[in-house]
Symmetry: C2
Subunit: 207 residues, 2 copies
DNA sequence: CAGAAATTCACCCCCTCGGGTGATGCGGAT
DNA sequence: ATCCGCATCACCCGAGGGGGTGAATTTCTG
């Protein structure tokens, strides 16, 4: 039986390497380390792991809880939050995405492994006789059907908290163009601000 | 001999309490816990400790390195950085304020105590035969002599990263007034932007 | 009391950001 | 050829931040 692949999403290299080391020592395979939300999504899609360890505090654009929402929508794999947050609002948000567990910094090898193993086995138990996996594609087609490729691309950046100008630079297009795409997205999804858009997307994603 | 007082500046309660516990267990007295840069400055002035443990990542307004700069200027007490940052630019900034040491998260009790004791004893050694302590008042009078009370107050908020509007609200004054004070400060210190002002202040503070 | 310093404020300029309107060109489907 | 979807962009607007000019008021001080 091959090792279980684990993705580490952690912006602080010191901690990421620590976790990686712990996993290596204990019959897990580290499928990758993502240092920000972009990399996290990329690595999830490119090399889907069997479990994810998610730092809640990532870039200001998108945090671990957002990644967790994405994981719930696109893949059904267990994930653990790695955090030093005890802020109530954040914990409330975290609770809603049904994490497999929390690892509080500072933590030790034993804690990490125990939490991970419990999360994986609980998740396996829950999966028995539950809904079939939903692919990201299906979600897009069904709920975001009216959206264009380009528009979907723009939404991606919006989710990551980029400004119109930043998006324009990344897509090699004028700011005005980005604004137009935004306008059309707003029309199609019946919203009129980016915040409302994000709220809407979250609703759509969480079934 | 009374216990050495240590101030903890750490925005994450879990870690702060951990550190506090470690210190309590080992013949140090925790003089206070500051969860943000405001509290840090307040507690420094109110109940000056013998050493400070400083998280580098605080509020976005002012980080641990800024607090360290303040400590160097106003008090000559040893401080340690508590961090998970390995970002080069930050480490370069940190190096310049001459910290007594770094504690990398995650850390254990032994590491924390060893680092703290080394920092304190090194600092004591360096103090022998060096310059006399400089009070904040003297620095103000000498280097920032042309500045008004009000202007000094404004500078305080500027250092904490507030916008003119935010300052106006705190001081119960119009934004325009804040801008005028700023203008006068710029004149007196021969700068023309807030960034230049901060740079200048840092220069003045670090002797 | 007179003058200087300190404090307050009103405008003005320029920039960026988000959002809205209208227009252009290109390709595919009818 | 026509129409529609898609992508592209130019302006316009209002909000808000930073900085500059000028001016009024209070307060301290010689």
């Amino acid at each position: 039986m091959s090792k279980l692949k684990v993705l580490i999403v952690e912006d602080e290299p010191v901690i990421a390497e620590n976790v990686s080391l712990y996993l290596d020592n204990n019959d897990f395979e580290v499928s990758g380390i993502a240092y920000d939300s972009h990399e996290a999504i990329e690595q999830l899609n490119a090399n889907t792991p069997d479990a994810v360890i998610l730092d809640i505090n990532l870039d200001s654009e998108k945090d671990g809880i957002d990644i967790a929402t994405y994981i719930n929508a696109a893949y059904q794999i267990p994930f653990l939050f790695l955090t030093s947050y005890s802020d109530k609002a954040t914990l409330d948000r975290a609770k809603e995405v049904k994490p497999g567990g929390y690892i509080v910094k500072p933590f030790n090898e034993r804690t990490l492994l125990a939490s991970l193993q419990i999360a994986i086995s609980n998740h396996a138990a829950e999966q028995k006789g539950s809904m079939p996996p939903i692919s990201m594609d299906k979600i897009n087609r069904h709920l975001l059907s009216p959206l264009t490729q380009r528009e979907f691309e723009i939404i991606g950046f919006i989710c990551e908290g980029h400004t119109n100008t930043q998006i324009a630079e990344k897509v090699f297009v004028s700011v005005n163009t980005v604004k137009t795409h935004l306008k059309n997205i707003y029309l199609k999804l019946d919203v009129s601000t980016r915040l409302a858009l994000l709220k809407k997307l979250r609703e759509l994603m969480i079934r």
